[in-house]
Amino acid sequence: MKFSRLYLALVFFILYMPIFYLIYYSFNSGGTMHHFESFTLDWYKEVFDDTRLLIIVLHTMIIALLSSSLATIIGVFGAIAIYYAKHRWKQTLLTLNNILIVSPDVIIGASFLILFTIAGIQLGFTSVLLSHIAFSIPIVVLMVLPKLQEMSPTFIDAARDLGANEWNVFTKVVLPYITPGIFAGFFMALTYSLDDFAVTFFVTGNGFSTLSVEIYSLARQGISLSVNALSTLLFLFTLSLVVVYYVMTQRASVKGGQK
């Protein structure tokens, strides 16, 4: 018992150590990652002074919000389509959906690059947005479908019995019921989009860049600790998203816990 706890603590320590190491040196006035001189916020100041970087942050946010919103809408309808599909098709569709989630980002990125080149879509904002929407949809489907499946089909009968047409059934019964799943899907899509590197790296171009791609190229140059500062900020932002998501699902499960 005691040993297993120690083991867990060790695993988490090893997993998080590099991140904390990176965060620690983002406050280093020395300018290197091996000797801590004194505390400074200069690197953060540098990040905020760099307008090019701020524009990239803005782009990343826009891409993330836009792609996850659109992916959520498409994914919800996709989940509903799978839910209503005939049994044999249901399994096939679900498998196709899951393959997209587990297949390596590099392959998805490369295939998108080929697709966009053939289709003549210029690499840049549009291509990044489209590919982010595409890899987010299966995630949304995966989060929404279980909610639909746990919903008793008599809810739909009951609503129709009370005079609801198809649209009423959808907006007043199905949608409210699966809302927790929709939010979960949206937040998952948001975090996937925010920290995606591989796919974006393939399909971006024309000077358009997102944070992870930018951090990668800065890190390769390997000089400035402003990369550390930027990474820290990104880490904190993702962390806050996870916390928000956690609080929301907690509240939802308390509300709908007893059935």
């Binding site: 008793s152 008599t154 809810f155 009968d157 009951a158 609503a159 129709r160 019995d161 009370l162 005079g163 609801a164 047409n165 009423n168 007043k172 019964v173 409210p176 019921y177 809302t179 509300k255 709908g256 816990g257 007893q258 059935k259």
Partner: protein, 351 residues
């Protein structure tokens, strides 16, 4: 057609794919203001009838009329019937008030009217003051009432109840039987109640339809069905009874257990093979000399209001007796019964 008739099934068949029909060429009328019960074992087609009336499914063959208008293809949301579901199907994201108000909001009724009607409906089912409760805060019996309020607030012509009491415990179930019956009287609308519990059916209904394998075996008042079952299946399903084969010797004379008895039945062919029903409560314990049947007690159970005796006669027929008198296992006793206690039925195949 009689204008009391509200629903009419005209040779209705329901079949899924190429399976056996779940409902096989069924015709009947439902009149306004009565309490009907569809009774039968699971898979007999009772819920199918309910779903056909509600409009969740369409008949494969035949026609359904509502106020003499054919409604085969009218969708559920356009029918003046409401359903109380077996699992209640209350919407978990809405509170009690909003659940009951659901149908009225769909109809876009003015807010003040909705408020008044929902309160009235909740008062009808004794749930005043529970408006703001969440569904998961309500007990099983209360959810049941919310489901009923949600249905009756729409003032349907017919209320359909799909085994609504099956999820409740025994005491609550008996209570709700009284309440439902009372509710039907006060509202004056038609109730169609589906159950597999014969006691429930007998206690509540004006009329019972006994169903088996997609067909109506018998319809009639609870008393008709209990006293005059048309065949072995109905007699067996509607209550504990002694069913044995016999021969109709002549009008008013029947032979079973190797003896001839006077009875009140007639109109059978001479020497026709028949089934005989004698209810356990119609058999009376007596001495061997006074008894019409000579049996040996095989087991005795105390059931509270009576003893349940299981006896065998010399020919191996089992006789179930409900008696306030007690007998010991192994006793040789006589059983007495009146001619009216014998009920003769045509023999049917099966069962």
């Amino acid at each position: 057609m009689d204008d009391r008739v509200i629903i009419r099934f005209d040779h209705v068949t329901k079949q899924y794919d190429h399976d056996l029909p779940v409902l096989d060429d069924v015709s009947f009328e439902i009149e306004r203001g009565k309490f009907y019960t569809l009774l039968g074992p699971s898979g007999c087609g009772k819920t199918t009838i309910l779903r056909l009336i509600a409009g969740f499914i369409e008949p494969t063959k035949g026609d359904i009329y509502f106020h003499e208008k054919r409604i085969n293809n009218v969708p559920a949301n356009k029918r003046q019937v409401n359903t109380v579901f077996q699992d209640y199907a209350l919407f978990p994201h809405l509170n009690v008030f909003e659940n009951v108000a659901f149908g009225l909001r769909i109809k876009k009724m003015p807010k003040a009217d909705i408020e008044r009607k929902v309160k009235e409906a909740l008062r009808f089912v004794n749930l005043e003051g529970y408006e703001q409760r969440a569904i998961h805060e309500m007990s099983g019996g209360q959810r049941q009432r919310v489901a009923i309020a949600r249905a009756i607030v729409n003032e349907p012509d017919v209320l359909l109840l799909d085994e609504p009491l099956s999820a409740l415990d025994l005491k609550l179930r008996t209570e709700m039987q009284y309440e439902l019956r009372e509710l039907q009287r006060r509202l004056g609308i038609t109730f169609i109640f589906v159950t597999h519990d014969q006691e429930e059916a007998l206690a509540m209904s004006d009329e019972i339809f006994v169903l088996n394998k997609g067909k109506i075996e018998q319809r009639g008042t609870p008393k008709d069905i209990y006293d005059e079952p048309v065949n072995r299946f109905v007699a067996d399903f509607i209550g504990e009874s002694n069913i044995i084969s016999g021969t109709m010797i002549d009008d008013f004379v029947v032979e079973f257990a190797n003896q001839q008895f006077t009875c009140v039945d007639h109109g059978f062919a001479k020497n026709e093979r028949v089934d005989i029903v004698i209810r356990p409560e119609d058999l009376e314990l007596t001495t061997i000399e006074h008894g019409k049947l000579h049996v040996r007690v095989d087991s005795v159970l105390f059931r509270g209001v009576h003893y349940e005796l299981c006896c065998y006669d010399a020919y191996g027929n089992e006789w179930l007796v409900h008696s306030t008198k007690k007998a010991e296992i192994g006793d040789e006793i006589g059983l007495h019964f009146e001619p009216e206690a014998i009920h003769v039925m045509k023999q049917s195949g099966g069962e």
